[in-house]
């Protein structure tokens, strides 16, 4: 293997190296861990190597290699579970591939795959500057050093890799799989002891237990080095689709270390990573749909379409298409379309459903206020039914029945009440050109297609119709499929089960917040100088969140989008990498299996559950004492994996952790697979 000449990952942390030098002064020998210490990988999580191997195997052997990465991981688990029965301390690569042969009986190229894994490892490994500098110093002063690693890869292979990375002159290399003893058990040191003085030794590594606690017990001096440590995303996807995000995420971490003097806003960083990949993939997809359907004008719907609107303009991918940002919301569209479908005698089911929409905090008074209904007779009837207008009407509660009856009984009053809203909304849509004879589509994050249905209901009398392109649509879309008109979605399809897309279904709140606009929800339209202007009163908490967090996320995203569409490249990403499956894999990594930093960052967001933005709840909450209370919190949360992961990280004892596991099984089990759920079992 030739020596590779690579740019150092980051500038050497001289203070740390000086500390190592000092610590090495009074020992006879130095021991170094290999992975994430002397060398590290350029992928986000070590298992992502298997995804890269699968990608290579698919190119070499074709479809028969599909699923390799996942089987490779399982094979390692099975080999590990068998090792105890065989009286072994650790496993070898050969043992793993023997297991793999059972798991992939139709795959005939097991040895070829093993060779590929070794080749891929060499491709993704890079030396760590601090350890390289330290080793150079050791060589200069003539102090012996050795490598000690818990690894299944064979020692001769590791020796070749290490020397190609610039390491030379080590005295010995001890690899757990080869010597049948490990650092994690501590028994590898008795083998090291035969040739090297462990009572006068310094060991450097990244693992608290294997490199810190265990050797310290034996009197070995230790230094922990975490700078090169990669993430352990136990719940991320393990297919080749994860690779674009994996490289990007790792590169971001490396860049953070490389330019440690420049403190990047973490929201900006999240945007330039996850955001850029996701939004570019969607814009590519959208462009294809726009061309296929010969769309000439696109309306991006407020508020969640804001980032997508900016991204489309930034990408400048299809200048022939006219783009507009449309200030609409359920609060303006539903009463307007509901009015059109109702009469003085009968309110449409859609309108009733809209009026009565509640969360766990909505009072009768609040419902009346948000539809601007002031009528003594109705208020009196409601008071006689409920006792007070301050009664909370919960979603799905039976208590909604009498309220709906009162509304239906007074259809004439409500019908008149909604007329001005209908006229204003229709006026605004007309002014914005929705009645023009142009092939038109709307763009939004999506979910139920109700906005498209409402718009098309309003356009129908003029014989106009829009189609819709979305991030995701749920099965409930089937209700409106015919009346909504043509619609397509990129990330979640209405013919799939929710469990097919947990990365979208369990993070709707995050997606909506990250895509929102600085202007708040449209609650109506005002006539100003012969034009209809959207009325978007400011909600302080939401505005602050935008200014302090979302704006940075969106800036990062747009910078990535700009580079990708202009240069075809951004950091490790190629524009061709930005596919919908890659975007979904990225969402799964961050939303279903967040790192501690991502959890803290995204968990700091608040989200409005109701269309009227009356409540703005934080994504995370402290662990409640009672399971019933926990159930309510989880079910009302728009980022369940985040909430449960937070609780898991906060659990103070084994019993509480077990409780969180049970909650995760109950509330995430129907959506997430066993592999994704295992992050709660560490």
């Amino acid at each position: 293997m030739n020596k590779v000449s690579v740019t150092p990952l980051w500038p050497v942390d001289t203070r740390f190296v000086e500390d190592l030098k000092k610590a090495a002064q009074d020992v006879e020998c130095v021991s170094l861990d290999i992975f994430d210490t002397a060398i590290t990988r350029t992928v986000d999580s070590p298992v992502d190597v298997f995804a890269k191997v699968e990608k290579h195997l698919l190119l070499i052997y074709g479809k028969c290699a599909t699923g390799f990465a996942s089987f490779r991981e399982q094979a390692e688990q099975q080999a590990r579970s068998k090792k105890a029965a065989l009286g072994l301390q650790d496993i070898t690569l050969r043992m793993i591939y023997d297991e793999l042969a059972f798991l992939m009986p139709d795959f005939e190229f097991i040895d070829g795959a093993m060779q590929q894994e070794l080749e891929v490892e060499t491709l993704v490994l890079v030396p760590v500057p601090e350890i390289l500098a330290f080793v150079e110093h050791l060589s200069e002063i003539g102090k012996p050093y050795i490598f000690v690693s818990d690894m299944y890869l064979p020692a001769p292979f590791l020796e070749r890799v290490l020397s190609s990375m610039g390491y030379e002159g080590w005295r010995s290399i001890y690899v757990s799989g080869d010597v049948n003893a490990s650092k994690a058990k501590g028994n590898i040191w008795s083998i090291v002891k035969k040739k090297h003085p462990i009572d006068s030794m310094l060991h450097v590594g990244d693992d608290n237990w294997a490199d810190g606690f265990c050797p310290t017990l034996l009197g070995i001096k230790t230094r922990l080095f975490k700078r090169a440590q990669s993430n352990r995303r136990l719940g991320a996807n393990l297919t080749p689709d994860v690779l674009p995000f994996s490289y990007l995420s790792r590169m971001q971490k490396i860049a953070r270390e490389r330019y440690s003097t420049v403190k990047l806003n973490p929201w900006y960083e999240l945007g330039s990573g996850l955001g850029a990949l996701l939004v570019t993939a969607f814009i590519n997809w959208l462009d294809e749909k726009v061309r296929t359907n010969k769309i000439k004008r696109l309306y991006f719907l407020a508020r969640d379409g804001y980032l997508l609107y900016q991204a489309w303009k930034t990408a400048n991918i299809n200048p022939d298409v006219e783009v507009k940002y449309l200030y609409v919301s359920r609060r303006t569209l539903m009463p307007a379309s509901g009015y059109l479908e109702s009469s003085e005698n009968l309110l449409s089911p859609h309108l009733i459903q809209f009026i009565c929409g509640t969360d766990d905090n909505t009072t009768l008074q609040h419902i009346l206020d948000r539809i601007s209904l002031k009528n003594e007779m109705i208020e009196k009837e409601l008071v006689s039914e409920y006792g007070s207008l301050d009664v909370v009407i919960r979603a799905h509660s039976k208590g909604r029945g009498p309220f709906e009856s009162v509304m239906r009984r007074h259809a004439d009053i409500l019908y008149k009440n909604f007329k001005p809203q209908y006229e204003a909304t229709l006026g605004y849509l007309t002014e914005q050109g929705l009645m023009d004879d142009v092939q038109t589509a709307i763009v939004d994050t999506g979910w139920n297609g109700t906005m498209q249905r409402a718009i098309n209901t309003l356009l129908k009398p003029a014989n106009r119709e829009v189609c819709g392109f979305y991030y995701g649509l749920w099965q409930q879309t089937a209700v409106n499929r015919y009346s909504s008109g043509y619609m397509e979605s990129a990330l979640a399809n209405p013919f799939e089960m929710v469990s097919d897309n947990p990365e979208v279904a369990l993070a709707v709140g995050l997606l909506e917040e990250l895509h929102g606009s600085p202007r708040q929800s449209t609650i109506g339209y005002k006539r100003i100088q012969d034009r209809w202007e959207p009325h978007t009163p400011e909600v302080k908490a939401e505005r602050e969140q935008y200014d302090e967090k979302i704006e940075f996320f969106q800036r990062g995203t747009l910078e990535g989008v700009f580079s990708l569409f202009r240069e075809g490249k951004y950091m490790t990403l190629d524009i061709q990498d930005c596919t919908i499956p890659a975007a979904k894999a990225a969402l799964a990594s961050v939303f279903l299996s967040p790192t501690e930093e991502e959890l803290t960052l995204l968990g700091s967001l608040g989200h409005a559950l109701m269309f009227d933005h009356s409540t703005f709840k934080s994504m995370l909450a402290p662990i409640p004492d009672m399971d019933e209370e926990a159930k309510v919190l989880i079910e009302g949360n728009d980022w369940r994996p985040g909430l449960l992961k937070y609780w898991h990280s906060q659990a103070s004892d084994r019993e509480q952790r077990q409780r969180i596991r049970n909650l995760a099984l109950t509330h995430l089990g129907p959506y997430m697979n066993e592999r994704q759920l295992r992050q709660f079992w560490i």
Binding site: V479, R481, Y486, F495
Partner: protein, 360 residues
Amino acid sequence: MLYPNSMDRLGLPVTTLVGKGKVCIVMRTKNRPVLLARALSSVLAQRYQNWHLYLVNDAGESVIPLVNQYLGSFKNRLSLITKHTSEGMEAASNTALREALFFNINKRNYEFVCVHDDDDSWHPAFLEEMVAFLNKETKYVAAVSKHQLVYERVHNDLVFEESRTKGFTPDLILLRDMLKCNQFPPICLLIRVHAASQIGMFNEQLPVLGDWDYNIRLMMEGDIGVVTKELAYYHHRRSAKDSYGNTVQAGVDKHTLYTALYGNSMLRSLLQEHPGYAGLVHAMEYCAHEGLKTIQYEFNRLDTKIRDENLEMREHIRELDIHQDVIIHQLRQLTEKVSMLADKMDKRKSILQRLTFWRK
């Protein structure tokens, strides 16, 4: 040779079975635009895109305005066939099959064919998984997936889902079971075009049960493999009496009638060609009847035994009840004695207290 003989009659070398995998989708519709919109979306949402859809409007209201909404996305993969006289579902399917498989066989070069009813839908992975399965498993003439049964109702232009359950498709499709009754709904099935060409058209004489008849003929050519994932959705509307009703739900009486007529016809066909089989059928029926009698006898014997044991148990319970009564009686007596003793103790205590007071 008795085994194997699946696909023998097709006489095809395995190499001809794996090609570009183009799928011919047949969809028939009549006055159900609300459901047709969903069916068209279901086809378009397939991850596997190498298909062509033949949509047959069986003399219903025009579907052109609806189809126009979807036209761009179909990218010339849609042929709309409008019939001016309705001759039933099977005839509508045949119109499409004739157009797709027989008139245009060289032009389109299909490898698979399937029927997607206008009220059903697929999971986006349906064609991808089914084509991959048949490409791998060359011994099957067709494949079926497992499915979900979706109950729904149509109100105005809205479709409300009422419930969703696991549909029944056996793990193995047995010809003998197929002769008894149909084993799966049509939305689950993907057929090799070679097999479809061999067995010909749907039977237009059958106003219902056409798919059962077709599947029996299909199984006479070879086996049907099962993909164990739920990749199809079989939609039912229990209450609909209009054009939105299912043939299964809205035509229950017709199903009963034609099950009888079809069964008679199957047997008659055999006996007309081979009168001697009357004896075999009689013998089989006799054996089945005798077998049934044996089972009935055994059942009666077990029933009697269980009843006898039941009686014994009751007797035991009665005895236990008596014992229990005795024990309860004894306990009461004991309680009374304890109570009397307690009274005495109380009195003594009270006396002692007084004595203590007096002593002070």
